[in-house]
């Protein structure tokens, strides 16, 4: 099972926040739950990226994204600048987004929630959000598959409607990404060990490398050079 335990989610997420804050300007925040809330949900917190200006993707940017993800053909130094500014204040940046990376106890994987706002704080409709999302994502949202892919659901901790990138295929995807490593879920002994730590961090980054770009969030390739 390519699953992540709640503990490993917290470790991976904290590592992600460090990486993100090293490489990006907008600050990611690890929102720690108060103890009672943590007890109810058996998760200690979630990652919040707040007030990110809407991206407006062009085909070339999409191409840059996918080459960043899949191919390593291009030299790193050429890519750095571009990828780091994929999310940028555009003319349409009257829209800002909040992204939360939360834990799904059912699928035992991280998943992404997002919510778009206008400048006056009112919430964007799904259609407006689709227009802000990368073209490939918008395509999925607008065709018949939207219910399986981006769904309105209650934020598991805030109890208000957010849009969720549906986590039901994530475990399958992580199996592919993590290979053998995904099979070794960190057991009791490993919980505190270095290798468990590394696995959690790798898992989270690998997950983000796929889930992030779907909503226009990317890290420069350097961030994926794994050092722990």
């Amino acid at each position: 099972m390519a699953a992540l335990s709640p503990t490993d989610f917290a470790r991976g997420a904290r590592y992600f926040v460090d990486v993100w804050n090293t490489f990006r300007d907008e600050q990611a925040e690890w929102v720690e739950f108060p103890l009672d809330v943590a007890a109810v949900h058996q998760v200690s917190g979630y990652v919040a990226l707040s007030n990110i200006p809407a991206m407006s993707a062009t085909p070339s940017e999409i191409a840059a994204e996918s080459s960043m993800l899949t191919g390593l053909e291009e030299p790193l130094d050429e890519l750095d600048e571009d990828t780091a500014t994929l999310v940028f204040p555009s003319t349409a940046a009257a829209h800002t987004y909040d992204f939360h990376m939360v834990y799904s106890p059912a699928y035992r994987v991280p998943f992404l929630l997002l919510r778009g706002q206008r400048l006056d704080g009112t919430l964007l409709t799904e259609e407006e959000m689709a227009a802000d999302l990368p073209a490939q994502t918008a395509e999925l949202v607008n065709d018949g598959r939207k219910w399986l892919f981006l769904t309105r659901q209650d934020h598991p901790y805030l109890n208000q409607p957010w849009s969720a990138l549906h986590p039901c295929e994530t475990a399958q995807m992580m199996k592919l990404l993590m290979g053998q490593e995904s099979i070794q879920t960190s057991g009791e002994n490993e919980e505190k060990t270095k290798s468990g730590e590394i696995r959690a961090a790798k898992y989270f980054l690998a997950w983000f490398s796929v889930a992030g770009p779907v909503v226009g969030l990317t890290l420069p390739l350097d961030a994926y050079r794994f050092q722990l």
Partner: protein
């Protein structure tokens, strides 16, 4: 029903499921005063709401009644109970269990057709409700079987049938289309999907005013617990231990500890009981009247002793640990085809888990109120049994939990 063979027949499960399915309760619906444009407000509407249904599915029955009084504009129907907008993606019966603490009937709701509140998931007709259901089903099936495949591989037609039969409240049709999920209800799941609705401490005296006062959380509960079948109490103790810990500050700390110890399977009392009624009461809904009449031996109501494989006679001298000879059950769960490696363990354990004395209070300690499908089951009911029989069509066992404050009731 005369002349039927003694109970302990597997088909009883189906009978219980049918009763659960047919559960409904009366609503009294009035139009929000601000939306009344006529001189005299329209009279309230009374109707029966299926417990397993979702509020927006009632729209076609409600809207015509109020149409004439509505201001011009587009409709977006939503409901409110004592100032709290009701989340439509939570099944109607669960909303009632969670919010109507005194169980007053009919349940008095206010309907709105304008100014849809931002705390509710936007709704674009029945399709939205359907997908909310399908996604919940997928989640539950994943918890039970480790894959969403049974749901994802449904044909468009089967999927539609599964939904239509639920929307129309057709039990037989739903059961047969649920069978196309290929998920056998008799085989034991990996885990039991729980949807817990926890009203925060200190709010039980007052009505819920905001959704922030309620934590909704999803859990995968183990079917077995230290070799015994997991009980409701054990599962809750594991899922939300703080609810039980807080009891320590209450007057009955010992009971909480005791409960924790017992449900963890460490201690099993000698049995003096032969027949245990699982629930103290069934529901307030009219649907169980016939049922009560037919189960003479168990005034407690529906899931009565002997109607399922889970409650059965146990050895008189039953004592000691899990799996000891004295806990061998007299009957096994016919119809259950467990994996061979686990079957033996379970059979041995299932008997053991039920060896409890009647003198022990099986209600939840410290004023914990635990409601499932309108019942307040005892803590020692095996979780798997509850899951099989009291789950919603989304396969989740929806459980409302809060603490009754001292002096209440």
């Amino acid at each position: 029903m005369a002349g039927q063979p003694p109970a302990m027949e597997v088909p009883e499960d189906a009978a219980i499921q049918k009763v659960v399915w047919e559960g409904n309760f009366p609503l009294r619906i009035q139009l929000e005063a601000k939306e009344v444009t006529t001189l005299t407000p329209p009279p309230p509407l009374f109707l029966m709401a299926p417990r397993l249904g979702y509020l927006p599915l009632l729209a076609s029955k409600i809207e015509p009644h109020f149409r004439a009084a509505l201001p011009p504009g587009t409709d977006a129907i939503w409901f409110e109970y004592r100032g709290l907008p009701l989340k439509w993606h939570i099944p109607t019966g669960v909303l009632y269990d969670l919010l109507a603490e005194e169980k007053t009937l009919p349940w008095q709701l206010t309907v709105h057709f304008r100014t849809y509140p931002s705390e509710l998931i936007p709704i674009e007709g029945e399709e939205t409700v359907k997908w909310s259901y399908m996604n919940a089903l997928k989640e539950a099936v994943y918890i039970m079987h480790g894959s969403t495949k049974p749901v994802m591989s449904l044909s468009q037609k089967d999927q539609e049938e599964l939904w239509r039969s639920l929307a129309e409240g057709d039990f037989n049709r739903h059961t047969s289309s649920a069978a196309s999920l290929g998920v056998s209800t008799s085989s034991r799941p990996r885990s039991v999907p729980l949807r817990l609705y926890l009203r925060q401490a200190g709010t039980s005296g007052a009505h819920v005013k905001k959704w922030e006062e309620i934590a909704v959380t999803t859990r995968c509960a183990d079917v077995m617990d230290s070799g015994s079948p997991a009980t409701l109490g054990g599962a809750l103790h594991k899922a939300v231990p703080h609810l039980f810990d807080e009891g320590a500050s209450n007057n009955l700390p010992a009971l909480a500890t005791e409960l924790g110890r017992r449900v963890s399977g460490l201690e099993i009392e000698p049995s003096t009981s032969r027949r245990n009624s699982i629930t103290e009461e069934l529901t307030d809904s009219p649907r169980d009247t016939s049922r009560r009449g037919s189960s003479a031996e168990s005034p407690g109501g529906v899931p009565s002793a002997g109607t399922s494989g889970m409650v059965r006679e146990t050895s008189e001298e039953g004592s000691g640990g899990v799996g000891s000879e004295s806990t061998t059950p007299r009957g096994s769960e016919a119809g259950e085809s467990d994996e061979a490696s686990l079957a033996k363990k379970e059979v041995g354990a299932e008997g053991g888990g039920e060896v409890h004395s009647d003198v022990v209070d099986r209600s939840f300690p410290n004023g914990l109120v635990v409601r499932i499908q309108g019942t307040e089951p005892r803590w020692d009911v095996p979780l798997n049994w509850l899951s099989r029989n009291l789950s919603h069509p989304d396969h989740f066992l929806h459980i409302s939990v809060w603490r009754r404050e001292a002096g209440q009731e």
